[in-house]
């Protein structure tokens, strides 16, 4: 960035290069190259092993509803995993993003200072809890306490087919989604809060001077300014939700079926399936799991790309990118 060093003299006068400069340049260049090299190494490794697995696959890698990678002949497909991963992450986003934006706005614009700071602490604390602890909490507390909500959803929305529930332990993609929502809440909240805080004070004060209420100020100056930030925050959260392993593995009852109802146990996610299968996998089984990891890699890449597109398109609103 060019604005790192404000007092630097304007004009093309070249400063004498000193040793420190060269070392710093070398280090930062090295870091950049290392990042690319690591990504390339991961991609090559995943592709190579995935190619081995896919060529051995007797089923269709994209459409088979089965995971028998250790059998001879191996048959496996990622359809169920892709569905489960996307659906549980979407549920997490639908639940978490509105709440996170609400919390962020409350902290940055509504809460008195003496409340805002401890609230920030609590949010940060949520981010520090390891995912296996979320998993245990989910399995021991959340699952038994969700049956009430499940029954309610079944009573009022069961006719849609998406929310029908036949009883039994509430260990479905929906539960996984709710747990994921709690897990991504801190990251989405924190980033949004920082973005909202940076909303130009002048605009806000101008709006207030024109007689706008607090809500109108937020709607007219804070939200448009923060929109791209909120999208980036959501994508960061989505990235975490897509790749979350232990928490999902602990609360979900996986199976290789796509259930029409979100509340019925079944389905699975990429990361959960890898965790469940890796320990006992033979060589083909391991390659198959790596192939599924590659698909997750690609999905994450697509999500990030989409987010960048959206942000780029909305650039005109954002002061931060100007």
């Amino acid at each position: 960035m060019a604005t790192e060093n404000p007092p630097a003299p304007a004009g093309p006068a070249r400063a004498a290069t000193r040793k420190g400069d060269r070392i710093f340049l070398g280090l930062s260049k090295g870091s950049g190259i290392a990042l690319l090299a690591i990504m390339a190494a991961i991609a090559v490794f995943l592709t190579w092993r995935a190619a081995l697995a896919i060529s051995a696959d007797e089923g269709n890698f994209l459409t088979t509803f089965e995971w028998d990678a250790n059998a001879t002949p191996p048959r496996f497909g990622i359809a169920v995993l892709a569905f489960g991963t996307v659906v549980s992450s979407l549920i997490a986003m639908v639940v978490a993003v509105p709440i996170a934006v609400g919390i962020a706005l409350f902290i940055s614009h509504y809460a008195p200072r003496r409340l805002a700071t401890p609230l920030g602490y609590v949010i940060d604390l949520l981010a520090a809890v390891p995912s296996i602890v979320y998993g245990l909490w989910g399995a021991l507390f959340l699952v038994p306490h969700l049956t009430g909500l499940y029954e309610w959803l079944d009573d009022y929305l069961g006719w849609t087919g998406i929310f029908s529930y036949e009883g039994g332990a509430a260990r479905s993609l929906f539960t996984a989604g709710i747990l994921l929502a709690i897990m991504i809440l801190p990251i989405v909240t924190n980033v949004s809060r920082e973005v909202f805080r940076q909303a130009p004070k002048m605009q806000e004060e101008a709006a207030l001077a024109l007689g706008a209420t607090r809500w109108e100020v937020i709607r007219m100056s804070v939200l448009p300014f923060g929109r791209s930030g909120v999208i980036s925050a959501s994508m960061l959260g989505l990235g975490r939700a897509l790749g979350e392993t232990m928490a999902v593995a602990t609360v979900l009852s996986p199976s290789f079926l796509i259930q029409t109802s979100l509340l019925e146990p079944g389905g699975g996610t990429f990361a959960q399936n890898i965790a469940a299968g890796f320990k006992e996998a033979g060589s083909t089984g391991r390659d198959a799991l790596i192939a599924s990891g590659l698909v997750l890699f690609v999905i994450t890449l697509l999500v990030n790309g989409a987010a960048r597109l959206i942000i780029a398109r909305r650039k005109e609103y954002s002061g931060a990118n100007a």
Binding site: W67, D68, N70, A71, R113, R114, T117, P118, G120, Y121, D124, L125, A139, L140, V143, P144, G167, G168, A169, R171, N190, R193, E194, A249, T250, L252, S253, P254, S255, P265, A275, A276, G277, F278, K279, E280, A281, G282, S283, G285, R286
Partner: protein, 443 residues
């Protein structure tokens, strides 16, 4: 111990629970005695945190700041730090108190058993594999290590698949596995075992208990056919006529059956489905495998996941290694095997079933084929046998002596006796003597 009619695991269970209570009490005392220490460390005032958790550096309270804001920030900081310190010291104390659990009652025995161990070789002895025999390995390692200080034994419970893989790559001296080697794995092993091949040595047995949680029922008898139908969602209610027929006296409710299986791949599933497939071929058509193949039901991660879920849900049933059932105070199903009395899942009964097994390995390989249809009085057929895998010839020179010495100990009478304490079943005499002579001939 003959199979007694009546419920529970009898004396062992009572002793076990008494110990658990005592231990809990000790923990409590430990914690309480540690409290003053924790408080003191809080009072001394830990270093202020340099940054707010969101990354902004804490501004040093300067003279221009409003006074009450400074105060507020400070109290918050101090309070957070205090809570942190309390938690940390609490955890430290807890772990300190907890660490003496293992050495518990076995101190005297260890030294006695240790005197019978013949130490040989030195250096690191690496092994990995089955997590089902992890607890057994822990006990053995502890005892062996106290006798033979020259060898550092390290067993990583990575899972059978990974264990065999590492062994075939020559990274470990031996592997632990829940199932015998497959032919292609034996073929691959010829690369590592110069002039020989990898062989299976049965070392640890263990009953797989079927646990249930049905309110009002604490004595349940099932047979292979009913089990297969329950786990394949063909029987869905507890008051199904098939279950009623086996339990004429029980008050069976009309609750829905929730059958829990392992969602991760495991040797336990492999053995359980092998039993269903062999003993009830008409009702269980799925090929036995480490991954669950049955229809419906719910999956849970690991044995502890199943135990937790069975405990939480009324009307549930699941299968776990015996130690998880006793450790969680879960009821276990008695099996109607066709013997006169229904058979309970105990280590003794599992040993009786292993005694009924046939050695099917060729040459020095001692892989077993369990007789899942056994009708022997008191033989519990859902039993897991785990193997140690080593080369018959061509073991690595630097670890051969230590491997032989360690495996000789595990196959010895002392080594096998140590198993029962951890819920494992010793391998019966007839087979273990073969194991001993094979270990003796390892080259």
């Amino acid at each position: 111990m003959a199979s007694r009619p009546g419920r529970g695991t009898g004396l062992t269970a009572e002793v076990h629970s008494a110990f658990t209570h005592l231990r809990r009490l000790l923990h409590l005392i430990c914690l309480i005695s540690a409290l003053p220490r924790a408080r003191r460390s809080v009072k001394q005032g830990p270093r202020p945190i340099a940054r707010e958790p969101d990354g902004r550096p804490v501004v040093a309270p300067g003279p221009r700041k409003e006074l009450n804001e400074v105060k507020l920030q400070r109290t918050i900081r101090l309070r957070t730090a205090a809570v942190g310190a309390l938690v940390v010291s609490g955890a430290l104390v807890l772990s300190a108190c907890g660490s003496d659990d293992n050495s518990g009652g076995s101190g005297g025995e260890t030294s006695k058993a240790a005197s019978n161990i013949k130490c040989d070789g030195e250096g690191k002895l690496l092994a990995s594999g089955s997590s089902a025999q992890k607890n057994a390995m822990d006990v053995w390692t502890q005892t062996y290590q106290s006798a033979c200080g020259n060898t550092q034994l390290n067993y990583k419970p990575t899972g059978s698949g990974a264990g065999i893989q590492e062994f075939l790559q020559g990274k470990t001296a031996f592997a632990g596995s829940d199932s015998a080697l497959k032919p292609d794995e034996v073929a691959k092993s010829k690369k590592v075992c110069k002039g020989g091949q990898a062989i299976d040595l049965p070392m640890v047995g263990g009953p797989v208990a079927v646990t249930y949680n049905v309110s009002g029922v604490d004595d349940l008898v099932l047979d292979a056919d009913t089990l297969a139908k329950i786990f394949d969602s063909k029987i869905t209610k507890w008051n199904d006529p098939a279950i009623k027929k086996l339990n004429p006296d029980a008050k069976l409710p009309g609750t829905k059956i929730q059958a829990f299986h392992r969602s991760d791949e495991s040797g336990t599933t492999d053995n359980f489905t092998k039993y269903l497939n062999t003993a009830a071929p008409g009702s269980w058509k799925h090929e036995p495998a480490k991954a669950w193949a049955g229809k419906g039901g719910q999956g849970a991660d690991g044995s502890s996941g199943i135990a937790t879920n069975v405990k939480q849900n009324d009307g549930s049933i699941g299968y776990v290694e015996l130690s998880y059932a006793t450790g969680n105070d879960l009821n276990t199903v008695k099996l109607d095997t066709g013997a006169k009395e229904p058979v309970e899942a105990t280590t003794d009964n599992a040993s009786k079933a292993i005694a009924d097994a046939k050695v099917v390995g060729q040459g020095k390989d001692l892989s077993l084929e369990l007789n899942y249809k056994t009708k022997t009085e008191g033989a519990y057929p859902i039993t897991l046998v785990t193997y140690e895998i080593a080369c018959d010839k061509g073991n690595k020179k630097e670890s051969l002596d230590a491997t032989k010495s360690f495996l000789t100990y595990t196959a010895s009478e002392d080594g096998q006796k140590a198993l029962t304490e951890k819920g494992y079943a010793p391998i019966p005499d007839e087979i273990i003597t073969k194991v001993r002579s094979t270990v003796d001939g390892l080259k």
